[in-house]
Subunit: 422 residues, 2 copies
Amino acid sequence: MTKAQTFITLTYLIETAGSPEKLAAKIASDQSTGTFVPVPGETEELKNRVAARVVGLRPLPPAAHSSFPSEEAGPFNRAEADIAFPFDAIGTDLAALMTIAIGGVYSIKGFTGIRVIDMKLPEAFGRAWPGPQFGVEGSRKLTGIRGRPIIGTIIKPALGLRPHETAALVKEVIDADVDFVKDDEKLMSPAYSPLEDRVKAVMPLVLEREQKTGKKVMYAWGISATDPDDMMRNHDIVLKHGGNCAVININSIGFGAMSFLRKRSGLVLHAHRNGWDILTRHPGLGMDFKVWQQFWRLLGVDQFQINGIRVKYWEPDESFLASFKAVSAPLFSEADCPLPVVGSGQWGGQAPNTYNRTGKTVDLMYLCGGGIVSHPGGAGAGVKAVRQAWEAAVAGIPLETYAREHQELAQSIATFANGKGA
Amino acid sequence: MTKAQTFITLTYLIETAGSPEKLAAKIASDQSTGTFVPVPGETEELKNRVAARVVGLRPLPPAAHSSFPSEEAGPFNRAEADIAFPFDAIGTDLAALMTIAIGGVYSIKGFTGIRVIDMKLPEAFGRAWPGPQFGVEGSRKLTGIRGRPIIGTIIKPALGLRPHETAALVKEVIDADVDFVKDDEKLMSPAYSPLEDRVKAVMPLVLEREQKTGKKVMYAWGISATDPDDMMRNHDIVLKHGGNCAVININSIGFGAMSFLRKRSGLVLHAHRNGWDILTRHPGLGMDFKVWQQFWRLLGVDQFQINGIRVKYWEPDESFLASFKAVSAPLFSEADCPLPVVGSGQWGGQAPNTYNRTGKTVDLMYLCGGGIVSHPGGAGAGVKAVRQAWEAAVAGIPLETYAREHQELAQSIATFANGKGA
């Protein structure tokens, strides 16, 4: 061959009582040409065409405890291994990439820990997949909000409200001048609140407010459904009634449904990643968000929920900051960056840390549920307080100082700051 | 309400430095109505309608080590918790079920381990989803094989063969009188072997053999693709050229694509679960196959790969046996049972254990890759040896005894039995 080969490169964190080097070689062999005995067709020419190769191995200090339970005594050897898969062996299909370079790896014997920590894709992937239709710029344009985070809230309780009850809560938060409202990700189209009824009860309020004020609140509707045909019907209902955004439970519907939707979508696709935690929560197992998010961005996520500072969930701040950095880094061009959506247990209190630790950007959505609607002055005061917190953060003024002349922020601190200090 | 409520019941294995009881209550609250502060709409009436409830809590002996790394000293408290979700809060949508009862749970703070170990669905799920189109009976009918396992093989090497090279290997194994042949799950439609070219090179051999012998080998084609429209095109190619089966990488394509395909499929859907291992390999984390397989069976898997005895992968025999039991147990009726596909490092040697430990059934597919094609007497002898091993197993005759009068089995034992003893 005269033409230089192109490669897809994955990096694995390997942990084993044995040799990381041998296991790296085993990944490369098993995930391309291997089986447990030599087979007739495995020629040298074929190996050159498709065989994966270990192109880097960086030993790490051993671990005292194993990630998977092990009968071995330890310590457990660790290394980062870079493995290059010939592009021609996989192509640009994301299900093929997931199957070959990630899925199959988890089944290999001998690991006491295995985590996929990086993935570098060639340009062909950027050309093969649509990426976000709206992304950061589209979200700015549709909301009309520039120069500060888009401030959003979530309708709670998560489950159980009937359409007219939802509508009453929506009225309250849009009157509070929030920029974005979303269905809780757990709300899709249950019998007590079918999506169509909910849309019909709520969208007139959104459109009425738009007529009155010129500002269109972006409402993200829970259109996820197992059957892509059902999901498209949900999509069409939202579009028909003037909606412009949808919450998608990406991990529950899967790659195929996301691809199907993106090809036909007229809505901003706001991704909730529920279920993802089990793939990343153990630091020695699964995969980094940095890897996982690449698939979904190529498939077309416009807005990506990634937790935030001091969240109510398990995720530590450092992990959130790494996610923020990952989604804000172009894969192939700036247009493939989704809007980072910062949420979970948020109120204005986390604004300074969020701003200062994400490279002083305001290109994000800041989602507060209880942090807005449970403000003692009502949702309107809640929204004001969050905006004030961001003004202070960007100006580099401590929240307590800024709160002296901003009553809503002061109330917010008095209500929410215990243990979640500004 | 006078009508009795129907529930979806999940069982979680909870591990924590704190109180399992409190965490069980937190799952129930977070996954139905909860948020981090009380919100206005959360009335008692609403809670009655949708709130999940802890209906059982069985303490287990504490664990010395935590499943997720923990800064606490331990021991770690453990319990099994049954949580009942009102059916009306979720409905029959599988993406909603996954989001509410499983996905969101993994994000909750305070666990040092969390695993979903059981799921009981009400009858409505059986009516809402199609289940297998072919299953056990359809697989029997299409292959014409009754009274013994369907014996299959996998074309190896996994990647790299061009269509004419694949065809040469297929000719060899169908001449060997195997019942079933499949593409390796890693092979879909790469540039060096586009599915259509592969189908055109191979299907004439299958049809020719059928004409000659009256026996149609079932060939499972790797039709998986990220875009469901592409996958349907692949499906149509196979059907058009006389094929009757497809390998589906269920975990890589996701629920939506599986649902989309099943509605339109004329092929037996043979599921490979690559990637699943990371959800189940750590016994304190993720979910049992028993739970996960329910989703895919409802969606329509006809044949389900579940490893086997003494496999080349990480999975212990006990785990495989539990999987076999799970897929063989009706969810709502016998028709929703897929054919269990036993594979990975198999040759005749595991037949006695497989037979005796799965309730003495022959309703399974027995897949041997190298175990057939690397037989010293060639693939034909390999197939014979596997059949002989199963004859011996069913008759309760030790393989070594049966091998005295069955040369192919004897050769097979001599070749494969080291460390994989019969």
